[in-house]
């Protein structure tokens, strides 16, 4: 019998703590002892720090030492993160009418908007929001599923977001004379609207589009044309207000000082610098995007750039001949031309991007043409009146003139 007990004893003694478990338990107990000593030595027994430390020890003990289900909370948290992240990522692809579309516009976009801290970032984000709605319209039309409800929603959302954008752009322009940035973002939005209208038109004219989608697309296109006008009008209002402020300042300076020459020179030089910066920025952008443009568009932009250079040089010549008002007017024209060239370039670039995203074959290689901006040029002509009416304009033949745009 004793022999059997020996066997049992040897076998049962295999039931023991694993060396790692034993070590962990010893460490835990000693930590607990140290913690108790700390409390005793410092005469603290129930401070927040001690309670926190105890909680930490308990949690650590519970989850990482004595709990056989220790990985369940970790896995649960991991799964929740994956689930939420996945939902959010899938929602990004949603269009109006989809189940996850609410997540996209009510969660993703407000959260992403929180990361736009400066006024410039906020304005850019609002511009992006309009582009997102335009992309959704593009997807709906391509999928042959644009109905009246979807169109009305998109029209409303675009109008609202354009109003927000205009307000934001105005704030940006008035803040620290950031009208150049505001103008850049505005041109980007105008370009996006033009590009989307062009692609939407091409898609809706395709063979595969059903009658309802075609009808709704036509209505949407008409609404988008109005939206583009709203963007441009918002920009014009802003420019006019900045322009009038600038004129008021100049007039008051002229009244205050007997010599108007120095003021006129300063104004002309300021416009020269802004026009030069804009032109350089345009050239850089063109250099980067040139290969993605058709030869026709390249030629059109090349022509515009040559025209801008000539206008700019004419402005410099007028400064040399002390005709500062004339010089300022020329630089203003150069800026307006640069904006038009930028709009043309961006419209075609964005159009190319949309076609790539949608997997649309650009069979006819048709690009947005310069003619599409005749309205811009008309607008430039209209606005060049006033201050430039007394200045001979060598570029009237080209249909270009001053937009009254202030870039400083």
């Amino acid at each position: 019998m004793n022999n059997e007990f020996e066997q049992i004893k040897n076998a049962v003694k295999n039931i023991k703590l694993a060396s790692a478990e034993k070590e962990k338990m010893r460490t835990f107990i000693l930590e607990k002892i140290q913690s108790a000593k700390f409390e005793q030595n410092n005469h603290v027994t129930n401070t927040f720090a001690v309670r926190l430390y105890r909680h930490y020890q308990n949690i650590k003990n519970y989850y990482f030492m004595n709990n056989k289900y220790k990985f369940i909370p970790i896995v649960a948290v991991f799964l929740i993160v994956i689930l939420l992240g996945g939902t959010s990522a899938f929602a990004e692809m949603a269009v109006p009418g989809d189940l996850l579309y609410g997540v996209k516009v009510s969660v993703n976009e407000p959260v992403a908007g929180l990361f736009a801290f400066t006024k410039e970032e906020k304005t850019e984000w609002r511009e992006r929001l309009v582009e997102r709605r335009l992309n959704e319209a593009q997807k709906l039309v391509s999928a042959n599923s644009l109905d009246e409800e979807g169109r009305l929603y998109l029209e409303g959302a675009i109008q609202r977001q354009i109003d927000d954008f205009n307000a934001s752009a105005e704030e940006l322009a008035k803040q620290n004379n950031e009208s150049t940035k505001s103008s850049d973002i505005n041109i980007r939005l105008q370009a996006a609207l033009a590009a989307h209208q062009d692609v939407l038109l091409a898609v809706s004219n395709g063979k595969d589009v059903n009658a309802e989608t075609k009808q709704e697309t036509d209505r949407l296109l008409s609404s988008l044309a109005e939206s583009q006008n709203r963007v441009r009008n918002g920009y014009d209002d802003l420019e006019s207000s900045i322009d009038s402020e600038s004129t008021t300042e100049t007039s008051s300076e002229e009244n205050a000082t007997p010599t108007t020459t120095s003021t006129g020179l300063a104004l002309a030089q300021e416009k020269q610098k802004t026009a030069s910066d804009l032109l350089n920025s345009m050239k850089l952008l063109y250099q980067r995007e040139r290969n993605s443009l058709s030869i026709k568009t390249q030629n059109s932009i090349d022509g515009k750039l040559a025209e801008i250079e000539t206008t700019f040089k004419a402005g410099e010549a007028l400064i040399a001949s002390s005709d500062f008002n004339g010089a300022a007017s020329k630089f203003q024209s150069a800026m307006s031309l640069t904006d038009a060239a930028r709009l043309l370039l961006l419209s075609n670039t964005i159009k190319g991007d949309i076609e790539d995203d949608m997997g649309i074959e650009d069979d006819d290689g048709q690009e947005i043409e310069d003619d599409n901006f005749e309205e811009d040029n008309d607008y430039i002509n209209q606005n060049q009146g006033g201050q430039n009416s007394n200045t001979p304009n060598n570029f009237d033949d080209s249909g270009q003139g001053n937009s009254g745009t202030e870039h400083d």
Binding site: M1, Q7, I8, A11, V12, K13, N14, L17, I29, I33
Partner: protein, 172 residues
């Protein structure tokens, strides 16, 4: 940290290293749950340390077992269990199945027989023959006189032997 604290800590670590497995096993045999046994063993040693800080234990081994026993009783009380030491059915048999050491056939029979013993007899068998506890320590732990404990050991051993013989006869 002063020298007195150091000594207590050294003594504690010695006691822990010497008895941690036995106390864990003791708690395991009383609860049937490895994780619960770990918790109880840990609580036991924390109580032991707190006791050592303030007073000297005459018989450390016995004291640790008594503390473990009380910790287990507290555990069952908190669980509001009807029967203390309520092991799952076939608990010892399952231990034998898990073990892969040599000669496991013989002791596995004994372990399965432990399931058949009443808890009080099982305790004395485990303490005496598996944990090698002296009758004096057992008396202290069980709160009985040493002679009574010796009688209980003898009776429990006899019961176990009878159970074993019955199995032997059946096999023959």
């Amino acid at each position: 940290m002063n020298n007195g604290d150091d000594k207590i800590e050294e003594l504690f670590v010695e006691l822990y290293d010497a008895h941690a497995d036995a106390i864990f096993r003791f708690c395991y045999f009383k609860t049937g749950d490895r994780e619960v046994a770990k918790d109880l063993a840990q609580d036991t040693f924390i109580k032991v340390f707190n006791y050592l800080k303030n007073s000297e234990a005459q018989n450390a081994k016995s004291f640790i077992y008594i503390t473990a026993k009380n910790t287990v009783i507290d555990y069952w009380r908190k669980k509001k269990s009807v029967v203390e030491s309520q092991l799952p059915e076939g608990f010892f048999e399952s231990i034998a199945e898990k073990d892969n050491t040599e000669n496991n056939i013989d002791y596995s029979i004994f372990l399965s027989l432990l399931d058949k013993l009443p808890p009080s007899d099982r305790d004395v068998i485990i303490l005496r023959f598996i944990e090698d506890m002296s009758s004096k320590d057992m008396a202290e732990l069980l709160g009985e006189r040493e002679n009574t404990v010796l009688v209980r050991i003898s009776r429990a051993k006899e019961k176990l032997k009878n159970l074993f013989d019955k199995i032997g006869n059946k096999n023959e």
